[in-house]
Structure formats: C-alpha cells, structure tokens
C-alpha cells in the first residue's frame, strides 16, 4: 500500500515522542542551531535550573547577527555586541556546544552555514531561535523558527511541544523567464497568498519550477516561507539534494551515505500524497518583482504600477495608505525608476555563491551610480573565500561596491551597517518592515540580487531585462 502521507507528515510522525491529550506533539529535534542573539537568556534558564544540554552533539552555534562586517578586532567597538559575543563563547564552552566563531573559517549566517557544512539533511527536524530557519526546508526537512524559551527547552530536552500544522502544497509549473529568479518566485507567492495566508500551514513547494532549481535557489524560496505566514516551507528531496550533500563535512560518509540516499528520497511526497490545501501558479506569470511597501506582500512586477487605493479591498486600504506614506510613494506610480541610496547584497535569503556570481556578472564593467552606497556581504566565510578565489570581489570593488566580511549585516542592522535617515535601499534581504534596516525611517525595496546589482549601477529601480549591460541568461 502506498504511503499517502506527504513529506511533512512522514517526518513529523518519525519525530513524535508523544502526543498530549490536548493534541500537542512533543517533537524530537534532530538539529538545533543557535546564535548569539536569541540564546543567552536560554542558557541562563539552564543555569538557573541546574540543567545540562541534553544532546550537545546535535547542537551547533555560530555568530552572525551582531558581527561587524568591517573591522572585527576584539573587543568590538560596540560594547553591547562584545558582551553578546563573550556570552555565547562562555555559554558554548560551559555547556559543551561547538561554536563556529569568527576565528573559525566555517562561521557565517546560521542558515548559510548549516547547509554548507552538510548539517542540514532531508528528514530532519531542525530548529533555531530565528524565523528564517525555514530556509533549511529546501532539503526536505521540517525547519522552524522558535523563541528563546523554546531554545531553552530544546537545549535541555532536545524536544519541544508543537501543534501539527496543516500542509498546503504551493505548486508552480513551468520555466522562469530570463531575468526571473527564485527570489521573484517567492515574492510573487507571498504577494498572491498574503503575509498571513500561511498561518497554520507548512508550505510544500512543488512543481516543475522548483524541480529544476538548484539547492541554493530552493533555499531562497523556503527562506521566505515565514514572510508568507508559514512557519516552515519545504521542497521534496531529489537527486539535486543528494548531489549537494555528497562530501560535505557533516554529511554521512561512505556506506552511511549510500544507506541515507534511498531513505532521503523515500521521504518525498508521492504522486497520491494528500494535502489540506493546494494552490497552483504558472511560472510564466512571474516577472522580476519588487516590494514597494512595508510588508513583503506589498510588491509588484517591475513593469507594473503600484496599486490604487480604490482598487484594493476596503480592509486593506488603511495598511496601503500607511505604507505609501512611509515610503513616500504615490498610488498608481511605476516602481521602475524609483531612486535608491543604498544597495545591499547579502542576508540568509541571497548571499550564497550563485547569488554573488549572478550579481557580479551584472555589475562587471560597470560603475555604481555616484550617489549610491553599495555593499556586498557574503553569507559565510567559506562563501567569501570561494568568491575571492573566483575573483568576484575584484569585479565588485572595481564597480564601486564594498566587499565585506560575512554576517547578517544590513538585513536587520544589529551591527554597524545601517541605513541613515530616510535612505532607500535596494536590498536582496527578506523584510521591508518599517525601520528594519537600522534607521527608524529608512526604506527597503526587496528584490533579487541581480535586480539590486542593476539598481546600484543605474541609481534607481531598473528592470533587469532591460539593463544595458546584462545579456540576461
């Protein structure tokens, strides 16, 4: 008899320690990733209650949010950042947790490091005190962001209580047009389903559009599941997944890998797998997409005008007015041509090799517009090193980009990289919330790294398909 469970339910069942009478599942967690911002209070809870880390070998820490991407000399200029760095160093030493710190060339954004090291594998349950943990779903795992109390629970027990969500299959069929990237696909999905459309659901991304994506592209898609309200998103494991994992430091080795492979592939939702909901989109309808507002669903295709207030549902009008006012934009105006002040290529959404290669290809031989400050922040030290081995840093620097050290940087501006005043930033990150990039009045336009690169050169939002320098491929 075929297994009609989708991947999510197979993996959930496998990790169910017990189900409480109220319906909550005590879920075993296969991999716990931690970082400096959401863990210090959790370790304090363990100290207060005289508890140990239950499975230190299933726990790994890195530092990313507060890391300066310029000078990293210790102590940091920011006392508070230094205090947090010292805290995670002490906590990991005291509790026997491996820490990939700045001296370790494996350090980087936690959602770049996990996959890069082969820690992230199909069929795992993965948690981290960070909402973009959904990224790891790209491998066919259940990967969810958790709060600090949950971090303490998982440290102390390797489990937590969760209610099983429903599963919605989000199908996209067809080939993406030139100049349309994985980032545009997820921005489009969020635009269509809304920022709260996914609440109560896990998203399975399926269909031929995702089938042909690389693992890095799949990570970009799953990363922003949370922006659509879904606490996790995933893509079924296939040969692309297996090929990516082969030979990575924490991947299974030799005979283990050979045994792992059929198990990983067996987890994929079958043809007759059941879902609580299915929505279907056509890749041909997706164009390069740019956010214009203060939620990730407030986006338009780059050739499209902003919405008109009278054309949207009455209950949405207040939010649209608030967004237009904050952004200094007019209803019905084109997004193309909107002047930018800053260009940021980085974040757990888009800071991997394929992102940097594509952005470098676009800026090669061009100069950043005179009024634009442009920075590239690789997702990890290994990404940075590989990019430099390929000479990408020289291309970026020749164009006028700053080439920085690895970290979260201007995605959320907990380090010194911040917008100033009302600056407008073309950003490859994931959130355009008010104040997100470090200035309370700063403004963010989310787009693909290629579109950020083109905007940096032209000094305004540009349709990558029309950008002079880029033979779009």
């Amino acid at each position: 008899m075929s297994d009609k469970r989708n991947l999510f339910n197979k993996v959930w069942d496998l990790h169910t320690v017990q189900t409480l009478p109220g319906g909550q599942t005590q879920l075993f967690i296969g991999l716990h990733l931690i970082h400096e911002v959401t863990s210090p209070q959790a370790f304090e809870i363990l100290r207060d209650r005289k508890l140990k880390v239950a499975f230190p070998e299933r726990t790994i820490a890195t530092v990313d949010h507060i890391v300066p991407t310029g000078s990293q000399a210790r102590p940091f200029l920011d006392d508070l950042a230094e205090q947090m760095m010292s805290a995670i160093e002490k906590n990991c030493a005291d509790f026997g947790v491996t820490l990939l710190d700045l001296k370790d060339d494996r350090q980087g954004i936690v959602h770049v490091v996990g996959p890069e090291q082969g820690l992230t594998q199909p069929g795992m349950t993965i948690v981290c005190g960070d909402s973009h943990t959904s990224t790891h779903g790209a491998f066919g795992s259940i990967a969810i962001g958790i709060g600090t109390s949950n971090v303490a629970e998982v440290l102390a027990t390797q489990t937590m209580f969760l209610n099983r969500p429903k599963v919605r299959q989000v199908v996209v069929h067809g080939q993406l047009a030139p100049g349309v990237y994985a980032k545009d696909v997820i921005l489009y999905i969020i635009q269509k389903l809304g920022v709260q459309g996914g609440v109560g659901y896990a998203y399975e991304f399926a269909g031929s559009t995702f089938d042909v994506m690389s693992i890095e592209e799949r990570m970009t898609v799953c990363n922003m599941s949370i922006e659509g309200g879904a606490r996790c998103g995933y893509i079924n494991p296939d040969q692309t997944t297996v090929d990516y994992l082969r030979g990575r430091p924490f991947s299974p080795k030799d005979a283990d890998f050979e045994r792992a492979t059929p198990w990983w592939l067996s987890l994929a939702s079958g043809e007759d797998a059941q879902f609580d909901d299915v929505v279907v989109f056509d890749a041909a309808d997706i164009e390069p997409t740019v956010t214009w507002g203060i939620t990730p669903a407030q986006s338009v295709g780059v050739s499209q005008p902003l919405p008109r207030i009278s054309e949207v549902a009455p209950e949405e009008q207040t939010l649209i007015r608030e967004a237009l006012k904050f952004m200094g934009l007019e209803e019905g105006q084109p997004i193309k041509g909107t002047k930018i002040d800053v260009a940021f290529i980085g974040s757990c959404t888009n800071s991997r090799m394929s992102d940097l290669r594509e952005a470098a290809r676009i800026v090669a031989g061009h100069k950043v517009a005179g009024h634009v400050k442009a920075i590239v922040v690789p997702g990890s030290q290994l990404v940075r090193r590989q990019a430099m081995a390929e000479g990408l840093h020289l291309i970026f620097e020749a164009a006028g980009f700053e080439w920085r050290a690895a970290g979260c940087s201007m995605c959320l501006a907990m380090n010194p990289d911040k917008l100033q005043g009302r600056e407008v930033c073309a950003s490859s990150s994931n959130r355009n919330f008010k104040g997100r990039q470090g200035s309370p009045t700063g403004r963010t336009l989310l787009m693909s790294p290629a579109m950020v690169a083109a905007a940096a050169i032209e000094g305004h939002v540009t349709d990558i398909r029309e950008f002079a320098g880029a033979a779009v491929c």
């Binding site: 958790i146 709060g147 600090t148 606490r231 045994r259 792992a260 104040g435």
Partner: protein, 199 residues
C-alpha cells in the same frame, strides 16, 4: 504549581487596531543587543512612538494598561521573544487580536500571556470603548472564553492546548518536557540519522 494558573486577566485596555504589526516594530532590532530581557519594556514600539506622538503607547491615559487590543496578523516577522517580553515588561498581561503570527503566539504562551482571537467588529467596539474611557476595566476570561468590559461582552477563541496550559498553570513547558526525558532517549534510537540510517 497552582500559583501559575491564569484563569482570567482583568486590567484597563489600550488599542492598536492596525494590521500586520511586525516584531521589528514592537521591539526594533537594535534593542536585541542584550543578554537579558531586562529593560525592554521602555522600548516597546520605540520607533513608532518616536514618529507618531499620538501613538497609544505614548498617551498618558493608557500608561498602566494591561490588555492590548490588536489587529490582524499581530506579531508577524521575527521569532524574537524580545517582542512579547517588551510588551509584558511595559505592562501588557493579555492580548486580544483578530489573529496572531504563530511564533509570536507561541512565545506569548511561553511567558504566560493569554493571546486570544476576536472578530474585527468586536475589537472595534472594544477599541472605541477604550478610547472613550481609558479607565474601563476589561476582563479576559479564559475559562468561559469571553471578554467583558462595561456593557460590552463577546466571545473569543484560543486553541485548547494553549488555553489548558494557562488555566491549569502548566505553561512551564520545560518542566513537562523534562519529565519525559527517558522517552526522549528511547525515541532518539529510532531516528534513522542518529543510527547510521539503520533504524
């Protein structure tokens, strides 16, 4: 642990009926540069308050409020527990909203903050009543799943598991999880990737 039981919350109210209020707005990221949650209360909605003198959290008459009436998808965005921590430390003891983002909802549960859902129409009525009389006493009753305030009364919803945990005082999830430590050790043996993919 009967002293942890939260069967109802009674306090004055404050309303912020906007949709998609994200956790960066509740507590901007720069205030996450800390190793304890102390002191977060004074920074709740800091940037919104700076930019809008009329923001409810700026208004003298709402200082001391304990029940927040909010809109749709309240607490979306980041997983930062700093967000409900800052609200709690500002004085919020319960949140009534049209809907919640999931991680925020879970974090409220971890802190013993009831987060209940109500219809937009009922929230608008409640917000109007709070505006009219900031001293109006509001009660969120978790056993009856009702909100009462003066002559206003309406029903609210909350998942059974979250409600039961508060009402029975069992929202210290860590203690309950620790009780199952033996089961967890046994379960780990059945997880394929912890046993060389032989399980």
């Amino acid at each position: 642990m009967s002293n942890n039981e939260i069967k109802s919350v009674t306090a004055t109210g404050i309303s912020l009926l906007l949709d998609d209020i994200d956790t960066d707005r509740i507590i901007p990221a720069r205030f996450l540069r800390c190793v304890t949650f102390d002191g977060l209360g004074e920074h709740a909605f800091e940037d919104d308050r700076q930019q809008d003198p009329a923001h409810p959290f700026n208004q003298l008459q709402f200082q001391g409020a304990g029940i927040l009436a909010a809109g749709r998808n309240f607490g979306c965005g980041s997983s930062r527990e700093h967000a409900p921590q800052s609200l709690m430390r500002w004085g919020i003891k319960a949140v009534i909203a049209e809907s919640f983002a999931e991680i925020f909802f879970g974090n409220c549960g971890s802190l013993g903050i009831p987060a209940v859902k109500a219809s937009r129409a009922d929230l608008e009525k409640l917000a109007a009543a709070i505006q009219k009389n900031p001293k109006l006493e509001i009660t969120v009753d978790l056993q009856k799943l009702t909100v009462t305030a003066g002559d206003i009364a309406f029903t609210v919803t909350m998942p059974d598991s979250a409600r039961d945990a508060l009402v029975t005082g069992q929202w210290d999830y860590l203690g309950r999880l620790l009780n199952a430590a033996d089961k967890v050790t046994e379960h780990a043996k059945t997880v394929p990737y912890l046993s060389g993919f032989r399980a």
